[in-house]
């Protein structure tokens, strides 16, 4: 971050990947070589991407700090900034203010079994930590990834899914909501498939992100499986502007999602006023 927290670094888009009909992944490189080299962050942290003349929006950095050729952001087209971002091509210039917020407790998770439960675009923040753990595989116990979307066409990171499902050192389970021709993986809603996989809560931390309705039922499923609130992690999304705890819109009571979050344990969330 710059001393002026509102001043973005200029960055060049080096690659654009069309993930689904409305999600694109952008790989960017900060123009200032020194800053790109020094750029350090941890999985779970977010950044603000600027399209000048249009505005700025918050996205999670979904490339792992262990792979530093570029910074990766996945963007769903929903509003003005994201629509303009979707029109950009490799070589185009954008602004980036990052890293912002807290991160997943990668040190505390060492030696634990990990169950990732991702739904739709909610896979983005999990991808960062998942890739980080693959790159530090020996530090973590059994790793299970349950990733679901409405249909095969709605799955992001398709280029990586074969590797994830074929690796022997992780258990990757993919699911879609309804049967689809040629689909060789699970069919069913994420919480139901999670119960079917039946992961043991022993020495295990569950990490989930997805649409609110999915989170709600996933939390119920995790509780049913015996997971303690402290061992369930999630990452929140709020409308943000400054990203540095000043502008005043992302608070839940006394906590600011941009500074105190976006990563919270379920136990922490229960302590907060109910304003998700």
């Amino acid at each position: 971050m710059n001393a002026n927290p509102y001043l973005p670094d200029m960055a060049t888009i080096v690659e654009v990947i069309q993930e689904t009909h409305n999600i694109k992944t952008f790989r960017i490189v900060i123009n200032n070589e020194e800053r790109m080299k020094e750029f350090s962050f941890m999985p779970g942290q977010v950044g603000q991407l600027s399209v000048f003349g249009v505005g700025e929006s918050t996205f999670v950095i979904n490339s792992s700090p262990t792979r530093k050729d570029y910074l990766q952001f996945s963007v769903m087209r929903v509003g003005e900034v994201t629509t303009r971002l979707h029109q950009l091509q490799p070589g185009d210039q954008i602004g980036v203010r990052a890293p912002l917020g807290n991160s997943f407790p990668v040190e505390d998770l060492k030696g634990k079994n990990i169950v990732f439960v991702g739904g739709g675009i909610g896979m983005a923040p999990l991808r960062t930590l998942f890739t980080y753990m693959l790159d530090n595989r020996k530090d973590y116990g059994d790793i299970t990834l349950l990733y679901g979307a409405r249909s095969p066409a709605d799955l992001t990171y398709k280029a990586e899914l074969p590797e994830w499902t074929e690796r022997k050192d992780v258990n990757t389970v993919l699911t879609i909501d309804n049967p689809s021709e040629g689909w060789e993986h699970k069919v069913g809603l994420i919480p139901n498939v999670l119960l079917e996989i039946n992961p043991s809560p022993k020495n295990t931390v569950a990490i989930t992100c997805g649409p609110p309705i999915m989170i709600k039922f996933t939390l119920q499923a995790l509780k049913k499986l015996g997971f303690e609130d402290e061992n369930i992690l999630t990452t929140l999304e709020k409308r943000m502007k400054c990203g540095v705890g000043i502008c005043g819109r992302c608070n839940i009571g006394t906590k600011y999602v941009c500074m105190d979050g976006p990563v919270f344990t379920y136990a922490q969330l229960k302590e907060l006023p109910s304003e998700l």
Partner: protein, 342 residues
Amino acid sequence: MERFITKENLIRLAEELTATCRVLAPVASCGTVTFRRFLPGMVLDMHSRMAAVSPKAATFPQTETLLTVKREIPEKKPEITETLPEGKNVVIGCRPCGARGKLIFNPVYETDKTKDPYYIQRRDNTVFISLACDRPETTCFCHSVGSGPADPQGSDVLLTLVGEGYVARSVTPAGEEVMKSALFADAGDKGKEADAKNVRARELMGEAHDYASAPAKLLARFDDMDFWQAQSAKCISCGACTYMCPTCYCFNITDDDLGLESRRIRSWDNCMSHTFTLEGSGHNPRPTKAHRLKNRVGHKFSYYPDLHKGVIACCGCGRCIKQCPAGVDIRQIVNAAQEYSE
């Protein structure tokens, strides 16, 4: 430092200061007193009533440009320039509450982690010459939020009206610097008269309300939406309360596209607006005015005090009460939460 300055000389001081500073002073226009850029020859209105809008804009303008971006071909070669503020400001004739209001910004805009250079430059280069109040309005409650009608906190010079002039007391070195002007004279024994006036002004306000239980009591009512719906029934979500408030510091950042150039602008935002927290997905964590008023009151009287040493994020100026077109009174809401029992 204690000096005396006549009313005439205060105007001369304001005029002299315009040579080196932007001077903001209360000026009456169309029946409303607001802080305007003061230029020699203009008439000050310091005594009729408290300015409708606080002097917040001196340190936190309603709209300011954070960055400008030049781009010959869109997105190809943008050049970013920071547009940090420059120069010095003097606010003359604000009330102590308006000067104190800006202190609420400090622990948010300047922390170990983050420093807001725009705010900090203005704060450090603005001198507040405040006027102690001698008669409270019915909407005033500064005495209940840790302040009072002659509170020097946030001011650099505090004036107290005595006869045909003011007893001036420096509060900060910057204030002392201003008071070195030859327009100030020896105060003689007028200080005693000023003290008596200030004591009298405080007495006129009556007993202070105790907000000590407010943080916990407001949190206890968080999920009681019947309570918040009743409290917000009159509110029309116009946001006048937020714009008039000396302590409201929330802002929006937007881009203004001017073709070959764009500007990134920061503007006062309004937490009473539906779009304040509206997310891209369409989800809104504060979907109704009841949720939004709850957050506004909660922030000032519960969350902020919990985070910042018990300080209430309200300076008690009463502008939100006076300017509300629907008669919402923040004091009544907090009182209701405090008095509520299961």
